[in-house]
């Protein structure tokens, strides 16, 4: 095991994929010479050339569409959209083209493309550079969506996404790029669709993903001091999501909190809560509680954003509600 950072793990995954398969190419705004807005692609153009690591103009619709066309023509493109807020400009190509091509073409072709994009607040980036829009994409049949919370998963899920025959959106978190964590000396792909027990516990389950995992773990530490033993499930994949793993955890703890940084209303948490209220009904000893951002744009000022983002105290309060 070696220690690395989340952003470095992404860089290593891209490096290893480019080295392993000549059909892998990268493109996006400033991913080449500048090394990416968050330095995730630093050094890759020097290593693999400007033909395979391309700087594009500021043209998100064309970036996403090029990925579809290149994927239909024998390549495995990995496109980057600089901030997740900008996927709004690429939605036709993601939703109407990438997601549907396999189905629309009678299952005779797939679209092996990856779209990397960072979401999340905490950097005072304001209302148009902080949103968590993954629920939109998870709602579209034909897209896969993953959201790594650790350096090891940032590597493993990205390798799995590049190997996947279908379009995968890899949602990174801007606040995590500098996060340190352990990774194998020879890391492998992490299968898409499988959750991970980030912390085992007996009294209540908190299901989460992305940067909110670390909020959940803080809350679990705080509750442990009061003798409450919380199990934390890191979903890792949002579409498909690991329903069996969540149900198994619920069957052990009988209490469920779903946490995400995205707006709570109509979110990923609503889907998980609805499914568990159905298939897990007999296991529940308390109502399922959701914790997410309030129904408002992400604010800019530090004090406002701090109040906006779900905090460990919110998770502690939610777990306590399930124990009442």
């Amino acid at each position: 095991m070696v220690e690395t950072r989340y952003g470095k793990a992404i860089n290593q995954a891209l490096h290893d994929a480019l080295a392993a398969d000549p059909s892998v190419i990268l493109f996006g705004e400033d991913v080449g010479e500048a090394g990416g807005p968050f330095k995730a692609t630093r050094g890759l153009q020097e290593a693999f050339g400007a033909e395979r690591v391309r700087d594009t103009p500021i043209s998100e619709a064309a970036i996403a569409g090029m990925a579809v066309g290149a994927a239909l023509s024998g390549l495995k493109p990995v496109a980057e959209i600089m901030f997740m807020d900008f996927v709004t400009l690429a939605m036709d190509q993601l939703v109407n083209q990438a997601a549907k091509a396999r189905f629309m073409f009678g299952g005779r072709n797939s679209v092996p493309m990856v779209l990397r994009t960072p979401h999340g607040g905490g950097l005072s980036a304001g209302p148009q550079h902080s949103q968590c829009l993954e629920a939109w994409l998870a709602h579209i049949p034909g897209l896969k969506v993953v959201c790594p919370a650790t350096p090891a998963d940032a590597y493993g899920l990205l390798r799995a996404a590049i190997d996947d025959p279908d379009p995968v959106v890899v949602v990174e978190n801007k606040a995590l790029y500098a996060l340190k964590g352990e990774i194998d000396d020879s890391p492998a792909a992490v299968p898409i669709g499988r959750a991970r027990i980030a912390r085992p516990g007996r009294d209540a389950t908190v299901v989460t993903y992305g940067a909110a995992l670390h909020t959940a773990l803080q809350a679990a530490d705080a509750l442990a001091g009061d003798g409450v033993d919380v199990e934390v499930i890191d979903l890792r994949s949002l579409q498909p999501w690991d329903e069996a793993a969540v149900l198994a955890s619920l069957s052990r703890t009988h209490r469920l909190v779903v946490l995400h940084e995205a707006v709570e209303a109509f979110g990923i948490g609503a889907e998980i809560a609805a499914r568990m209220a159905d298939v897990g009904f007999d296991e529940l000893d308390a109502p399922i509680v959701r914790v997410g951002a309030p129904f408002m744009p992400v604010p800019f000022a530090g004090a406002l954003e701090k109040a906006y983002l779900p905090a460990a105290a919110d998770v502690v309060a939610a777990v306590r509600r399930t124990l009442e």
């Binding site: 391309r54 103009p57 619709a61 579809v68 390549l75 189905f103 299952g107 005779r108």
Partner: protein, 326 residues
């Protein structure tokens, strides 16, 4: 249709004539099937525009790729899509090229380089751009053709694609079928600039041609595509053509003047080609035999589609994602 290159000019023109007539007769048949309720949904016919894809496809091979738009029957057939699979798809059968999941607006066969008709105006352009990028990255001399109408000139993504194709010198042909209509509105009330202006803005050579003269389209396309294969960067080929039918079948075209509608027959590329063949001394019986042979193939395709099973819902639902291995 995948015609073999013909050296004799008469044989060559006969081949182009056959290509156009195949599209015309297939669409006339679809028109009747639609009126009889055998084709569900929306269909957009390209009657009057056949010379464009046939003239362009004469310079394309199996490794070349095309992406199309909602008026895509001609583009697909000219690229060589299977006639049985074509009819079965549009009639919603399991034997359709897309197993009845896409219909008229999504006919596709990626195995022959047909990357799909498309229901979103302009959406085929960045897909073609990516395909051209793949050809260049893989070091082949294949080219990618985007068919689009003048209505797509107002879509922002066209402007993005013109820029990137020019910037990276991609082997992409922007093939515009300019029929003067953006759905139900005249394009000159929707676009201030011309495609020629746009091409110039991105330093892309622009060629304008009478899109109802199949020989002229063939010659202009051959030059453009040769330039793409040499690595000279993208080309814009603007074909002035004529939309005879409405935006979609069932559109009564009340917004077009009776004079305009009455004059459409004079522009017919197939009648013009036939007259040219007569000038070259081709026997009328030989020309008529082409129509009869196409008619038999079309009727066989319709009969095959009628006899084919309905698509399986379970199979459709299982094809949203690639099945896991093992």
């Amino acid at each position: 249709m995948a015609r073999e290159p013909k050296n004799d000019p008469t044989d060559r023109l006969l081949s182009l004539y056959e290509g156009m007539l195949t599209i015309r007769q297939a669409e006339e048949r679809l028109k009747a099937l639609f009126a009889d309720g055998e084709v569900p949904g929306f269909i957009h016919l390209s009657i009057g525009q056949e010379a464009v894809p046939v003239g362009i496809s004469a310079s394309l091979g199996p490794a070349d790729t095309v992406a199309s738009n909602h008026r895509g029957h001609g583009h697909a057939l000219a690229k060589g899509i299977d006639l049985d699979g074509f009819f079965a798809e549009i009639m919603g059968r399991d034997s359709g090229l897309c197993r009845g999941r896409g219909g008229s607006m999504h006919v596709a066969d990626v195995s022959i380089g047909m990357l799909g008709a498309n229901g979103i105006v302009g959406a085929g352009l960045p897909i073609t751009l990516g395909s051209a990028l793949a050809h260049k990255t893989r070091g082949t001399d294949a080219v990618a053709v985007a068919y689009f109408g003048d209505g797509a000139l107002a879509e922002g993504v066209l402007h993005e694609c013109l820029n990137i194709a020019a910037l990276w010198a991609l082997p992409m042909l922007f093939a515009c079928e300019n029929n003067g209509w953006s759905e139900f509105s005249p394009t000159d009330r929707q676009m201030k600039a011309s495609l020629k202006d746009l091409a110039a803005a991105f330093s892309i050579p622009h060629v304008e041609v009478d899109g109802n003269d199949v020989e002229a389209v063939e010659a202009a396309a051959a030059e453009c595509i040769a330039a793409l294969r040499r690595g000279d960067g993208p080309r814009v080929l603007e074909c002035r053509t004529t939309r005879v039918r409405g935006h979609f079948e069932g559109d009564r075209q009340d917004y077009r003047s009776p004079d305009e509608l009455a004059g459409l027959a004079a522009t017919d590329p197939i009648a013009r080609c036939r007259a040219r063949l007569a000038e070259l001394g081709v026997d009328a019986n030989r020309i008529d035999a082409i129509a009869e042979a196409i008619d038999r193939r079309v009727e066989q395709a319709v009969a095959n589609a009628r006899g084919a099973p309905e698509p399986s819902f379970a199979a459709a639902a299982a094809d949203v994602y690639t099945a896991a291995e093992g």
